[in-house]
């Protein structure tokens, strides 16, 4: 039987505080392609990992702005150019009435972009990932706190990285090898 390619290494940590400490040490020793898995978001983890703030807001904001304008113009276009019809003697371009629909269109599209944008940035759905090779990783959604380092990281060396994770308090250090 030929041993598969090592795609990363994973280690378990005791609790959220230990995970944060591990993240800080990984960050300081120059690792980039690592992630800290926890059943809930941990306060302060972004700084510990050296992560920047999510860019999602910069995507949703412009969409909201464009859509509220587009909704307003669309309403104006249908009632003045596409289908000019006098109703109750009101002017064709009754902009006072356009707020509710323009607002609803803005909220609808921005919410959609928030959800879809979040999934796209996270590259989800993705049903296969090296971390799932580990049997223990099931507990990452229950009460396990894990660090995973990907093999693509510049500093990654099977033995060294595993040793390093052990030295910073990681338990059950495991190489991620395709098991199928």
């Amino acid at each position: 039987m030929k041993a598969g390619k090592v795609e990363g290494v994973i280690a378990e940590f005791e609790n959220p505080a230990a995970l944060i400490k591990a993240a800080e040490q990984l960050r300081d020793s120059g690792y980039k392609k690592f992630d800290c898995h926890s059943p809930f978001p941990i306060h302060g983890m972004d700084q510990a990992m050296g992560e920047k703030r999510s860019i999602l807001g910069w995507i949703v904001g412009p969409v909201a702005f464009i859509m509220v304008l587009a909704g307003f113009l669309f309403e104006g276009w249908t009632s003045t150019i596409a289908y000019p019809l006098v109703i109750s003697g009101k002017p064709l371009f009754s902009y006072q009435a356009y707020g509710a629909v323009a607002f609803a269109l803005m909220v609808l599209t921005s919410a959609l972009v928030s959800l879809v944008g979040m999934l796209a940035i996270n590259k989800l759905p993705r049903f296969h990932h090296p971390v799932f090779y580990s049997e223990r990783f099931n507990r990452a959604t229950d009460d396990g706190f894990f660090v995973s380092v990907e093999a693509q990281d510049e500093r990654f060396k099977e033995e060294d990285t595993a040793e390093f994770l052990k030295s910073i308090g990681g338990r059950e250090v495991e190489l991620l090898v395709a098991n199928d």
Binding site: P16, F40, F103, A104, L112, N122, F127
Partner: protein, 462 residues
């Protein structure tokens, strides 16, 4: 000289939100085991009951579409009967869910985590029930798509000046955004269920819907911002939806409807009725599934306070309407309000006042707002009262308008009643399916508010 005020520090330390000294694993176990075990007998009984009412709903809709809306009790002045009453009632019920999930999230009210998931589910199901009524009220349901701005062979477009069209957009957006918000919250919990799944089918289905969630911080980072954005978008949305619904009435010239107080008055009423419904459902679910440690008395008490406060806002709106009717000097307006309180529908008006204004005042007493049987009964009264509020607004104004010769009395028919009962059946059927198959409390968020979720916890307790 510096004085350390240790007394104040002790007084203001909050007791834990979640009781029973839970660990992360025990939270997972308590909540996920509900959907992994075979349901209890009570669930089957309730589901059987609720789904038979859905049959009544479907039958009634079928007959209504076949025969036309003449099967209802609507008559010449009262063109809007129970259909709009039910619509406004159900949309209102939904509001508590969004308030809890979005507004309380932005205000960082951590106690919301125990109730937000099923309150959001309730929102979605209530809005589904609400959408049925304007849907069937159009009479020719097969041309309902005319309401959407779709390019068509007749080259006509909807009239964007009409508040009824605003409604389509407001409620449609509300439904879609609530659904997305709910699903976003569900992703990590579905991953928890996926990782606990024993059978291949469960693994596959839950795996599909949890999208391969790994719980890495590089994902949480974007996830949390997306959640915050959705909360930020839902907050003005929840305030706008019932405001738009109220413009269905307020932009007309009918006495009793043509009033600027309507938008805030409707929003307060919506939150009031929604919280009452959350209360009714939470008390039952908590009892059946032994969730007393997670939905504690403290949570219920806080919800009761919200009910009391919004109940007083509604009471204020009722009295202000009366005051303005007199102060305006408009005789039609004055008549409409006197007629509401002392006319042919006085019975409905006083049911509304007793249920919405008087009964919630009992919550001033700590004994009553922490007594589960009493708060259950009061929440039912509020649900009834808020249905009557919409009935009073809709029917009394239409039945006795400007011209006495056109007045008429509205009485519901069998089909009015069967549609209302059927919509309750649909609501409970969907809700029962939800608690059977999905985690009814957010596992992730509950873990996040446990004391040991805070990294600083370990500095003091190491």
């Amino acid at each position: 000289m510096s004085v350390e005020n240790t007394v104040a520090a002790d007084t203001f330390t909050e007791p834990p939100l979640i009781k029973g000294n839970q660990t992360f694993a025990s939270v997972t176990e308590i909540i996920s085991s509900i959907v992994e075990k075979k349901p209890k007998k009570a669930w089957f009984v309730l589901f059987g009951l609720a789904s038979s009412l859905v049959m009544i709903l479907l039958g009634s809709i079928g007959f209504l579409v076949w025969e036309g809306i003449g099967v209802w009790g609507v008559n010449n002045p009262v063109g809007w009967g129970w259909a709009i009453t039910n619509f406004v009632f159900w949309v209102g019920i939904g509001h508590a869910g969004t308030l809890i999930s979005a507004v309380l999230y932005i205000f960082r009210q951590k106690w919301r985590t125990s109730i937000n998931r099923f309150a959001e589910a309730m929102t979605i199901f209530a809005v589904i029930c609400a959408l049925i009524f304007p849907g069937v009220h159009v009479g020719r349901v097969w041309v309902a798509y005319y309401m959407f701005p779709i390019p068509n062979q007749m080259a006509i477009w909807p009239n964007f000046r009409s508040p009824l069209l605003w409604d389509i957009f407001a409620v449609g957006t509300y439904f879609s955004v609530s659904l997305m918000f709910w699903y976003t919250g569900l992703i990590p919990d579905l991953a928890t269920l996926r990782d606990r799944a024993k059978t291949v089918l469960r693994k596959r289905v839950l795996g599909l819907f949890s999208l391969g969630w790994r719980g890495g911080n590089k994902q949480w980072k974007h996830y949390e911002l997306a959640y915050l954005l959705l909360a930020g978008l839902s907050t003005p949305l929840v305030l706008s939806v019932h405001s738009v619904v109220s413009t269905d009435f307020a932009t007309s010239i009918i006495p009793g409807w043509h009033s600027t107080i309507f938008p805030p008055y409707f929003v307060a009423g919506a939150i009031f009725s929604g919280f009452a419904m959350v209360m009714t459902l939470a008390i039952i679910a908590r009892k059946i599934y032994n969730l007393e440690d997670i939905i504690t008395l403290k949570h219920l008490e806080r919800m009761n306070m919200v009910i009391m406060v919004t109940g007083m806002m509604v009471g204020y709106a009722y009295s202000m309407e009366f005051f303005i009717a007199w102060y305006s000097g408009n005789e039609y307006e004055t008549f409409t309000f006197l007629n509401r309180a002392f006319g042919p529908y006085a019975w409905a008006y006083w049911i509304m006042i007793s249920c919405n204004v008087l009964i919630p005042q009992l919550f001033w007493s700590k004994k009553i707002r922490t007594s589960i049987p009493l708060m259950f009964v009061i929440s039912i009264f509020v649900n009834i009262g808020m249905w009557f509020e919409r009935f009073v607004i809709t029917v009394t104004s239409l039945a006795n308008d400007f011209l006495p010769s056109s007045w008429d009395y509205f009485s519901p028919t069998f089909w009015d009643v069967s549609l209302l009962i059927g919509s309750f059946g649909l609501f409970f059927t969907l809700f029962l399916l939800f608690i059977r198959y999905l985690p009814m409390i957010s596992i992730t968020e509950i873990k996040g508010v446990l004391p040991q979720a805070d990294p600083h916890y370990y500095e003091n307790h190491a």
